[in-house]
Symmetry: C2
Subunit: 257 residues, 2 copies
DNA sequence: GCTTGCTGTCCATAATGTGGACAGAATTGG
DNA sequence: CCAATTCTGTCCACATTATGGACAGCAAGC
């Protein structure tokens, strides 16, 4: 029951598109051209939208660089929703326990539209930790290990649709529709996703997916570690722990609301 | 240097207007009619905007009540800005110390557009505490004690402009332009704002304003207590403490960035 | 100087968003 | 049970609004 046919609000939808691209730029922001290319809108249009949003305090422009970023009024609006999401609440202590068992950095990543968004990170006890990704990091679904995992958990046609929609943005991350689709296929048959070459050289990531009560894949748990920490033997161990954690979180969400 | 003449984005501005009204409704949300009356837009327009925002995940609708509220995607966008605002950072420990000295509940309230927004609250040690306002509470400037304080700190023409803009919304809070203007005048000559009848019966509030380095009044510190705790003698004492705290925060903001 | 790669602005045009009017659903109360 | 009232949702003719091609400025590199 995905209804999406309401019209009469092109401009608003476009503004939100822009906002989501800007969100991916985090503090440092995004140059106008990049927004243009990522949204597929024309430059005058993006320019107008961005500047209206600046006047409204929703977007900021960095004095020096001229890049555009999410403005201070967005967190202010967010204050209207005090409570954490059920997922975050449910995941909290399970992540803590899992982190203790694994020892390497754990990430909790959710799907939001066609993006992945890192919403939690736990640092383990092992002396070498991969901290490449921070809470708030947002990338097109399919780029990160967590993204592939989430895509692998959904019906192939849906996944393909999302991947295609993200095609233009993949260029900036040195990947392609074909690459992502094959990674999804691999993850599907393995039951979890594995990434040999992480964003940082010499790291390896492993992700399992979490489904909400309505069976939609909505999130992923990821472990990142230096490659030597994740040999074939330990990979198997860690995979089982993560699968267990994912299941535990799914159960807990059901019991909460 | 307030430039506000950019056009070609009526719809986007309207959508943001709607969002800000919804933000004031917090978790419980706002019925459509109220949004219509607060924004001055027509009902079909508000309806369209709100429903597009729902499709985009920016707004949610409560199943039972049918009221509209800020959606889960807003905090997700807010994650793009990890750092606290300079004001919050500067105020942190000063609030803690002030709370120790006063013993009653302290609020930090900022101005955002034509609204006040409570961004921090410290509970004191005295056994009776006024907890009427929560972090995230948003009201039209002029309605709360903090709002009057902030208005009192700006040039009268500016204050009058804001108060007039909020006129339609005052009805819902049982106040009026005239009332607010007279409160502002009183606060101006006193150097801080005093409210005998708080939102809750039998409480009393006292607010001092904080200006940013560019001399714009941007926030207020408020103490709320049961009336008996704030007799004339203690009122004077508390006012001095709050004035001191406001000054300290102003100084600290300047030194930070 | 010329090119390349940005950002910003204009304005004729049509597509977009508007809102009056109508309709249904839910609640009240006589 | 049927007005009366008050809310939400939808339609569609119309003109206001947002669009984007074209032009312009500006800085960096060659």
């Amino acid at each position: 029951m995905t209804t999406e046919p309401r019209q009469g609000a092109q401009a608003i939808r476009r503004a939100l598109m822009v906002l989501r691209i800007l969100a991916a730029g985090r503090e440092s922001g995004v140059p106008l051209t990049e927004v243009v290319q990522a949204t597929g809108l024309t430059r005058p249009t993006v320019h107008r939208i961005v500047h209206v949003l600046i006047e409204e305090g929703i977007v900021e422009r960095h004095e020096k660089t001229g890049r555009y970023a999410i403005g201070g009024q967005v967190p202010e609006l967010a204050l209207a929703r005090p409570s954490r999401s059920p997922l975050l609440a449910a995941a909290d202590d399970i992540l803590a326990r899992t982190s203790q068992r694994v020892g390497d950095t754990l990430f909790l990543t959710v799907r939001t539209g066609n993006d992945t968004l890192c919403v939690d990170r736990r640092i383990g006890f092992y002396p070498i930790q991969v901290l490449s990704i921070e809470v708030g990091a947002r990338r097109p679904l399919g780029v990160s290990s967590a993204g592939v995992a989430i895509l692998a958990a959904m019906p192939m046609p849906d996944a393909r649709k999302i991947v295609t929609a993200n095609e233009v943005r993949f260029a900036g991350y040195r990947t392609s529709v074909a690459t992502v689709l094959s990674q999804i296929a691999l993850a599907k048959r393995r039951g979890y996703n594995l990434r040999e070459a992480g964003l940082v050289q010499g790291t390896k990531s492993l992700s399992t997916w979490i489904k909400t009560p309505d069976r939609q894949p909505a999130a992923a748990i990821t472990v990142s570690a230096v490659r030597t920490r994740l040999g074939p033997r330990r990979e198997q161990e860690v995979a089982e722990i993560l699968l267990e954690a994912a299941l535990a979180i799914e159960k807990k969400i059901e019991s909460l609301p």
